[in-house]
Point group: C2
Chain length 345, copies 2
């Protein structure tokens, strides 16, 4: 294995904050040549020879690193740098497998993607009876689609992903994730989620899942009131939304704002949940779960449990992470987070 040092930066980040990196004085990367002649970006993330390191102004002063076995893909889309690498095999524990990196930040690994995809999907869909129409914003890798497909009540799944390269790369390198696209109920729209949502007729969806990036840079819109208002408008009465909502350990100030915005806009239930994802910064990721005015939604107690029909995916793959117990547990917060979030009630 060559000593690849790899990372990604670009001009129009959708997933992560390029402007912020530069504003914080991070060095602009140069490109070096590998011994085999392929170009490898040599950036702030390239701190351990042969390892990928994730350094970002979103989590200053800390970094998670994975040993690289082989770089499988490097590309630059209209929106971001896209990279796939194979993580090294590990003698004691199982490998992280293939890793998808956008703008230098890990989006998924084969080892732990189950936690994020299953939780962001089934927390909302198991909280309402018979979801029929579902919209996914972002989530171009297809993992959320794969999980939505477990719900036999679902008749229509729209996905709006801005970056076609993410879809193509996932289909090529992550077939167990991109399998979600094979479901005939799915329609893929390549485009801006904010614009897509504005064009949706009022009350269209039973559930909207926002598989978004961090709220610095272009994705900032997805955490602000106008976007949440569009989401609320696109949902039926008693419809539900689940959005990626950062880490209680790193971003309580962001979470406070999200909670305050959501309490203002969603007149049904407003709850915060979280789960473990080892390759996300601080090892956890949160979700904001809200419902519109209408039939009451008790997010903490799933009325549409999926455990019994967990093998309904085309691949027959059973749920690896989600179950009804961990659904309810996800809403139990550490005291430090509970105090802040409840203070916004």
């Amino acid at each position: 294995m060559a000593g690849e040092s790899v990372a990604a930066l670009n001009d129009l980040p959708v997933k992560r904050p390029r402007e912020e990196e530069e504003a914080n004085g991070a060095s602009v990367p140069t490109v070096s040549m590998e011994t085999d002649g392929t170009e490898v970006p040599d950036s702030i993330s390239a701190v351990i020879p042969g390892w990928f390191s994730e350094i970002s102004p979103m989590w200053p002063g800390e970094a998670h690193s994975l040993k690289v076995e082989k770089i499988l893909f490097q590309g630059k889309s209209d929106y971001q740098d896209v990279m796939v690498f194979q993580a090294s095999d590990a003698p004691y524990s199982s490998t992280y497998g293939k890793v998808l990196v956008l703008d230098g930040v890990i989006q998924l690994t084969e080892r732990d993607e189950c936690a994020y995809q299953e939780m962001i999907t089934h927390l909302p869909l198991c909280s309402i009876p018979n979801p029929k129409k579902v919209l996914v914003i972002g989530g171009g890798d297809g993992g959320v689609l794969r999980e939505v497909a477990r719900h036999s009540s679902v008749e229509q799944v729209d996905i709006c992903e801005i970056d076609k390269m993410v879809v193509d790369v996932s289909k090529q390198f992550f077939p167990d994730v991109a399998i979600g696209y094979e479901d005939p109920r799915v329609t893929l729209h390549i485009g801006d989620g904010v614009a897509f949502l504005k064009a949706v007729p009022e009350g269209t969806y039973d559930a909207i899942i926002v598989d978004s990036s961090d709220p610095i840079g272009p994705a900032q819109e997805l955490f602000e009131k106008p976007f949440f208002q569009s989401v609320a408008r696109a949902l039926r009465p008693g419809g539900v939304v689940c959005t990626q909502a950062e880490s209680i350990w790193l971003h309580m100030h962001i979470i406070e704002d999200i909670v305050a915005n959501c309490r203002h806009i969603f007149k049904g239930s407003v709850n915060y949940a979280w789960t473990t994802v080892p390759t996300y910064p601080s090892g956890v990721i949160g979700f904001m779960l809200c419902s519109t005015e209408g039939p009451h939604v008790d997010f903490k107690h799933p009325v549409n449990p999926i455990d019994a029909h967990e093998s309904t995916t085309k691949s027959g793959r059973p749920l690896k992470f989600y179950n009804s117990e961990i659904h309810t547990a996800a809403f139990c917060l550490p005291s430090f987070a509970k105090r802040v979030i409840e203070s916004k009630a």
Copy 2:
């Protein structure tokens, strides 16, 4: 700030597996001189200049790194290398504060120690009525003692820590953790926990908390049948033990063995729980909770809730992490872990 590159290795590791590192071909560190003339170990963990990186054969192929503001202490005890550093201030999120490192592995940070200390203590002590006699094995930093002290029913707390340097360093650099030693109910025994336990009269303790390191190297004994048998013997009927029990993401094979051993030895309840600790590998740590034959213990439903009297520490510090909801939630496992652990039943 000088570009400190820091890590630790030693000859007689208690907390972590030196032999394993060498067996895996990790390079043996040399010592370099800083510009101010102080000695700084230059080891496998020194992968990012100015950063501390945690690399271990217990989690091969990945590493977590923290930016170092200043090294506050470096020493070599009879058992291990001991280091304290100040983590860098972060512009967005709060700092990890001071960090205690033993043999190159992070043991606690001021930022997230609350999660580990509160959970390993209150999961067992809130599961039985009126705990009176408590034994802590390991835990030399004093954090578990601080948490035990919240329980007004407790009359006697013995702690057996092998390394006096850990106690002294904690008292000097982590006063909010070592405050546990100020409680008059505490008796400190410097020595080997296994030997201490063998000398304890049968049925002495209501609860035993094993704040141990990983089961490779010398601490391996603390994960094996004879040790658990000594623990069971030292507990009263219906007494409880809580031991550090690794990560469901990294060490399911170790957890399987622990569960099998415990089911063999403890004739009461045997349960696995887990929590989030960002600076531990994979971001989670687990606990094995067992009770001896006698009055039934339902670990999942605390009978001795602490929320109401949470400010009984000498410092008046409220609980930051633990509450009764998160106690119950800690026993809800992801499906992949649940399947393995229940298969041992």
